[in-house]
């Protein structure tokens, strides 16, 4: 439950990072859809989708779509400013680090294999047998 609440906060932050026009029109609806669908889609998928959306909207903010150009026909009206590029890069880095942390927390680190422990115990016994052959009866190869 706390995880979902945290995810919702992060998603709200991502929505706040969308361009104003898009945010004013769709943010409330997007948050409602997030609330409804996060249990099905998963937190990571929903947050990754929100991040991509923010980046896409900022990239698309500098071009003006025209109906007669079709789905992909877009005409740049101004170039991306270095300030905007820096903001997007910082945001992407923060989110990537967040995802990395989430992933490393949820995936357990690999444990050393058990036979390694057995072999180590064998080495100790062999060492002991070499030092005191009369006291250690276990055969050592």
């Amino acid at each position: 439950m706390t995880r979902l609440r945290c995810a919702r906060r992060v998603y709200q932050l991502l929505l706040a990072l969308h361009p104003a026009g898009f945010r004013e029109r769709f943010a409330q609806e997007m948050l409602w859809v997030f609330d409804q669908s996060v249990a099905d889609t998963g937190v990571c998928h929903a947050l990754a989708d929100g991040t991509l959306s923010a980046m896409k909207q900022w990239a698309a903010n500098d071009v003006s779509p025209r109906a007669d150009d079709g789905m992909f026909g877009r005409v740049p009206t101004q170039s991306l400013s270095p300030q905007l590029l820096a903001q997007v890069t910082i945001l992407a880095t923060i989110v990537a680090l967040g995802f990395f942390k989430l992933l490393t927390q949820s995936v357990p680190l690999p444990q050393p294999p058990k036979h390694f422990e057995v072999r180590r115990a064998g080495w100790v016994l062999c060492g002991a047998r070499k030092r005191h052959p009369e006291q250690v009866a276990i055969p050592c190869e």
Partner: protein
């Protein structure tokens, strides 16, 4: 339909195609579209809210989809509903025709391969 048959169409991206398909049968709100896309693709294709609204924004600008406010029947809340326009329906039909043509050619090619083997 004959008009769409002869037309050269840019293939629609998968998300756009699914959104238009979801709206072809009835008007839906955002979450309704996500559910319908999941149903249409047998849960193999999932659309997140970011992808959905990015597509809806484009579709609204292209006037392939239009929106309106409607009150939900089971609550007093107002939701924005989306409806496919005639132009959107025409584009969807043209893309489906394009895909049918590809499937027809692919089936013929595969049948020829089978005959040769």
């Amino acid at each position: 339909m004959a008009h769409a048959e002869n037309e050269t169409v840019t293939p629609l991206p998968a998300a756009t195609l699914y959104v238009l398909l979801a709206l072809a049968s009835e008007d839906r709100h955002g979450y309704g579209i996500i559910q319908e896309v999941s149903r249409l693709s047998s849960a193999t294709y999932r659309v997140g809210s970011g992808t959905l609204y990015d597509n809806l924004k484009k579709l609204l600008q292209l006037e392939w989809v239009e929106d309106y406010e409607a009150q939900e029947s089971d609550s007093s809340e107002t939701r924005r509903m989306y409806r496919i326009t005639d132009e959107g329906r025409r584009v969807l039909a043209a893309d489906v025709t394009r895909m049918k043509r590809i499937v027809r050619v692919a089936n013929r090619m595969l049948a020829d391969e089978g005959g040769r083997a």
